[in-house]
Symmetry: D3
Subunit: 247 residues, 6 copies
C-alpha cells in the first residue's frame, strides 16, 4: 500500500526524519510518499496557523489522493483532519489523534511530553477533541521555549527524559506521547531509558493508517458528505471534488 | 463604534438582509460595515468548507481591522472564530457562539431550529464547542433539505413555527435559536406567533459585539499570542500580522 | 433604557461603586437604578446566605420590575438568578454568569481572581453552573482571608496583580475575571499593568443586560412558567405575580 | 433517634401520609417529628418557589435542630438542602438526593416516574445536581398535568404502572423512583405489580437519615462553615446560628 | 436482619476488625456474618486481582445468600459489585461505593485519604465509577508505600491526620473517606482530632446495607437479569443460579 | 508476528469464523493462534459472566503469552481487558475497544448495530468506558432477542441492514460497528449494501493488535504494575506472574 504523509509545515528538514520513522515502521508493508507544504508556515504552532495550513492540507490531499491508499497528516494539531475525513474517500489519519488513540489502547492513563510550553494548551485541546481527557494526565514540558526547534530532540534529550519520569511517577501515566514533529524518532531511541511506554506520534499515525487500509472501509454513497457546490479560489483538484465532478 | 460584519459565504444576497438586521439592532449606537467573501463558497455547510472559508475570514479581518472596533463572523458555524480570536487585537464574535451564549442568559434550556437536516449535526457541534450542551435540548429541522436556501424563511415559515412549538413544548426549551444565515430577521418577525423566546443569531452577535466594545478589553502583550513567524501564500496584511510586523 | 441593579448585600458602601461602574459602562445608553437589600446580610459569602438573599432579590424585582427594562443581580454568586429568570417577564442578568459568558467570548481559557479563599469554591461552582468548566483554569486568591472587605481593592492591589500574572502565565488563562463586589472598578484601573484581558463582573453584567434589552425578547405565554398559586408570607407584589394576578 | 421531617409545602394533607411512610420505615428505631411549612406555597413546583421555601426550611431547622438527630427535607426538589448542610451541625437529607443515591446503590440505571410533566425538567436537574446523570434513563410522566395533586396516587395509579413499565422495558431502568410528595407510600403498595425496583423517596430519605445518624459524624470545627455575621429579617434562632452565637 | 460481610482478601486478620466495626455500627439492629475469601490474594491492590477476586465474591454470595438479607463486599475497589448486583435477588453493597455515596450526602466536596500511593489511582477510578467526580477533591496518601499493611492504622496515624488536614484545608473537602480495609475503625477513633467529617467505609457500607434492607426492594422478575445458561467450572450454587434453577 | 486470539466464550463454533476473519485481515503479516475458553459460558452476555470469564482470560494469556506477540480478547464486552493490560508485558487488545477506537478514526460519529436488545446497554457501557460517548449515536438492535445466536448473521441479515440504515440516516452515524461475536465477517460481506462505513470488531481488533506489535512498545519496569504477591487457586502460570517469579 502507499501512504501519503503530508507535512503541513513548510520545513523540509522535518519531513525527512518523519518519513524515515514512518517508512521504518511500515517496512515492506507500505510505501511512504512524503510531501511538504509549499505554502503556509515553517512550523505550525497556533490555531490561526492551523486554520490556514489545514486548508492547504485539503488541496494537497486532493492533488494526490488517486495514487495513495491513505493519508497521514503529520503535524501534531492535526490541521484539516476533520475536514479531510468528511471530504475524501480514503482514510485520513492525524498524528495527534492516532497517538492519543494508540496510547489509550496500551494503557489506562497517558500523558504528553513535548519541548515547548507554547504547545501545552493545544495538546490538551487535541486530547479533549478525541474525548479521552478522563484518561489524560496532562502535558509535561520545559518551562521556557527553545530558541529553535531544529535540534530540540538532541538539545533537550535529558530534560525530556526527566519530563517522562515526572509524567509516569508523579502524574501516573502508563503511556507517554512524545509530542511534536521535531521529536520524530526519539521515542524508539529513548525507550530503554524510561519506564512507561513511549509513543512516537508519526509511528503511531503510520501504524493506524496501515490498520485502516487493511480494514478497507467501503466508501460508497456516504450520508454525511456535503452537497456538491461551486467554489472560487481553490486548487482545481479540490474544486472538482467539492463540485462533485469526481470523488 | 464600527462593527465589521463578515459574511464568509460568497452570496451577496445573504449579506444585505443580515446587515439590515445588524444595523437595525445597533441603531445609532454602531455602524455596521458589511463584507462578503470574494472567495470560497456560495453557502458554507460542511467542515471542509469551513476550514477553507475560515482562512479567508482571517484575511478579511486583517485587511479591515484597523478601521473597526470589533468583528462579527456571520455564518452559523463560526468559521475561523477561534483562530481570529487568538490572532487579532479586537473582539471577534461568532454568530453561533453569540446566539448560544445569549440564549443561555435568557433561559435555562435552549434549542436550535433550522431549515435543513444537513446542518443539524454541525449545530450540535457548535453547542458542544461552547460547553453548554447540558442546557441544550437539541436541533429541530425539516426531515428533508430545501431545494434552495434562497427563500427558506418564507417558504418554510409555517414549518419553522411548528418546529419552534415542538422545541418548546416537546423538548422543553425556553429559548429557541433560529439557526442559519438565511433565517436572518425571522425571529423578530415571528416572535408573537410562538411561545418561547426566539434568538436571531445575527442580532445576538451584533449585541454581543457591542457589549465587548463597550467593555473595551485592553489588548496588550497577550500570553497566548503565537510567536511571530514568516509565511507564504497569505494576503499581505495577514502575513504582516503573523510576522509580528504590526498588531 | 433603565436597568435595575440590585445589590443583594445590605452594604450601601458597595452599591455606590458598583453603580458607578455600571453607569460608566452604560454612558447615555442606559440609566442605572441602584437598590441595596434592606434585609439579609452585610456580605453574602455562603450558600445559606444566598438561599435567603435570593428570596429577597425576588421581592426586590417584583417591587420594581414595572419601571425598568432589565435587572442586574449584583453579587457574585448570582443569588436568586435562576428563580428570577423563571418568574419575571424581563431579562435578569447575574454578575457571575455575565462575567463568565463574556470571558468565554473574549478568549479560549478564563480564570477567576478574587480576594479571599473563602469564595474560591463557590466561584468554581458558579462556573460549573454555566457549563463552561472545560474552559476554566481555576480560581487564584490570597492564602488567607482579609480582615475586612471594605478596602480590599486597594489593600490587596499588588497581590491581585501577582495573582492575575499567575492565572495567565502559570494557568494559561487568556481572560481573568476579578471576582467579588468589593473589586468593582478595579479591572479598568489595572488593565495596563497586567497581560491577559480583565473582566469587571459588574461592567460585564451591565453590558449583557443592555444586550438583552436591545434584543427585546418577546415574553409572551411561556412554556416553563410555573402555574399560578396562592402564597403566604411574601411581599404583596411578589405574591400577586406568583398568584398570576399580574405578569 | 428523632428525625425532623420538614414538609416545605404548606399542605398539611401531604405531611401526614409522608410521616406515616417515614415512621413505618423507621419502626421502633426512630421517631419521626413532622413539621409543615407555615409560610410559602401549597405545593412547590418551581425554582422560584424553591428559592423562597428553602429559606423557610432553614428557619424551621434552626427552630428545631436541638431536639432532633437529623433532618429530612420532604419535597422532591430538596429546597434549601445545600444551604442547610453547610450551616447546621447535624445530617440533613433531601428527599430527591436520598432517592437518587439509594437507587444508584440498588441498580445500574434508574428512572423517575412522576404524575405531571411540569416537574420533569426539575427532576432531571435534581439528578444532574447529584452528578449521577450517566446512570439516569430519564423521567416518565403523563402528557398532561392533573387538575389537582390531591389524589393523583389513586387517580393515576394505572397510568403510573404503565409509565414504570416503559421506564424499565423501553428505557432500561433497573430502579424506578416514584417522584413527588403526593406519591408517598405508593411504591410499597405497587411493588408486586411492576418489574424493576421501586423507590419511595420519603422512605429512602428516612433510611438515609437513619444511616447518617448511625454513622454519627463528628461535627467539630468545620472548614467550610461560613464566617459568623449579623443579619436582618431572619428568625431569632437562625439569626443566632448565622451570628455564631450558637452552633 | 443478617448481613453477610465478605472480605475478598484472604487475610483473616483484616476480617475481624472490619466485622467489629460493622457489628458496632449495627448494634442490635443487625447481625454481621463475616466471611474471608479462601482463594485469591492476601490483599487486593490491582485490577487484575479484583478481576479474579470478584469472581470468588460471586461464589461466596451464591453459597450464603439464602441465610442473609444483604451483602457487604468489604474491599475498597468493590470487586464483583456490579456483577453481583445484576445476578442476585438481595441488596449488595460495596465498601467504596457506599463510602462515596454517604460522603456525598454529608457534604459538598469529599476526598479519600489512604495509606499507600499504589491505591490512589484506583480510588479515583472508584469515584469516577459512581459518577461523582465533580464533587471529588482527590486522593491524599503518603509518598511511599508502607512495607506492610498489617499495622498501617497505628504506624501511619500521624501521617494520616496530616493528610486529612491537607484534604480539608488545601483541597477543600468537607468529608474525608479513610480508604482501605486496613484502616477500618480509624475514622471513629480519629474524629475528634481532625476537622472535616470522616467516613469509615465499612461502617458506611454497613449503614447502607441496613438502609436497603429496611427499604425491602421487591426483587421480582427483573428486566436486566441475564438469561439462564449452563456453565463450566463454577461452584454448584453459583452455577445453579446462573442456570436459572433457583433465584 | 503471532497473535493470540482468545474467545472467552466456550462455543468452538464461534472461534472458527472469528479466527478466519482475523487471519483474512492479517494475511501473511501475522499468524492467528485461536483459543476457546475451556471454562465459563457458551456465550457471555452479562456483567456477572464477564467477571468470571475475565478471570479465565487472564489464565489463558498467562499460559500462552510467551509464544505470541500480542493478544486479542475476542468477546464484545472485552472481559478481563483492563486487568490483562495491567498485568502482562505485551499488547492486549479488546474487540469492543478496538472497534470503537477504529470507528472514531474513520468518522465523526459512530453507532453500534447488534442482534439482541439484551446487549444494548452493555455496548453503551463499552463506549462510555473508552470515553468516546460524545461521538456515539447509540445502539440499534431488533426489539426482541433471537431464540439462538447460532445463525443470527444469516437469519437477521435483512433486519441488520435496515438497522444500519437507521443508524446512518436517522441517528447520523458515519461509521457503524456490527457488534457481537456472532456477526464476525458480516461487515465485509454487507459493505456494498449499506451507506456508512461498517466495522467488523474482530477485524478491527486484529488490525489494532498488528499496529501495536509494529510499534513495539518497550515493556520495561512499569510504574503501575501491581506489587508481586502470593495467591491461591490460580493456574500455575498466572500465579507465577502475579508472584513476580516471571514477567
Amino acid at each position: 500500500m502507499r501512504l501519503l504523509m503530508i507535512n503541513p509545515n513548510m520545513t523540509e528538514a522535518m519531513t525527512g526524519p518523519m518519513a524515515r520513522v514512518a517508512q521504518d515502521l511500515a517496512g515492506d508493508a507500505a510505501e511512504i510518499v512524503a510531501l511538504t507544504a509549499a505554502q503556509g508556515f515553517p512550523y505550525i504552532s497556533s490555531r490561526a496557523e492551523a486554520q490556514i495550513a489545514g486548508a492547504h492540507v485539503l488541496e494537497m490531499i486532493a492533488d494526490h489522493q488517486d495514487s495513495v491508499d491513505a493519508v497521514i497528516v503529520a503535524a501534531f494539531g492535526d490541521p484539516g483532519l476533520v475536514a479531510a475525513r468528511e471530504l475524501f474517500n480514503l482514510p485520513v489519519v492525524g498524528m495527534a489523534e492516532a497517538a492519543i488513540m494508540t496510547a489509550a489502547m496500551l494503557g489506562d492513563r497517558f500523558s504528553v511530553v513535548t519541548f515547548s510550553p507554547h504547545m501545552a494548551r493545544w495538546y490538551t485541546d487535541c486530547v479533549r477533541q478525541t474525548g479521552l481527557e478522563a484518561r489524560f494526565t496532562g502535558v509535561r514540558c520545559p518551562k521556557v521555549a527553545p530558541d529553535s526547534v531544529d535540534n530540540v530532540a538532541t538539545a533537550l534529550r535529558g530534560d525530556l527524559i526527566d519530563l517522562v519520569g515526572l509524567a509516569t511517577s508523579a502524574d501516573g501515566a502508563d503511556v507517554v506521547i512524545l509530542g511534536g514533529a521535531p521529536l520524530a524518532g526519539l521515542a524508539k531511541e529513548m525507550a530503554s531509558e524510561v519506564d512507561g511506554l513511549l509513543i512516537d506520534p508519526i509511528a503511531a499515525a503510520t501504524a493506524q493508517a496501515m490498520s485502516l487500509v487493511r480494514l478497507a472501509p467501503a466508501y460508497g454513497q456516504r450520508v454525511a458528505r456535503p452537497a456538491a457546490k461551486p467554489s472560487k479560489g481553490l486548487s482545481p483538484a479540490l474544486a472538482s471534488i467539492i463540485a462533485g465532478e469526481r470523488a
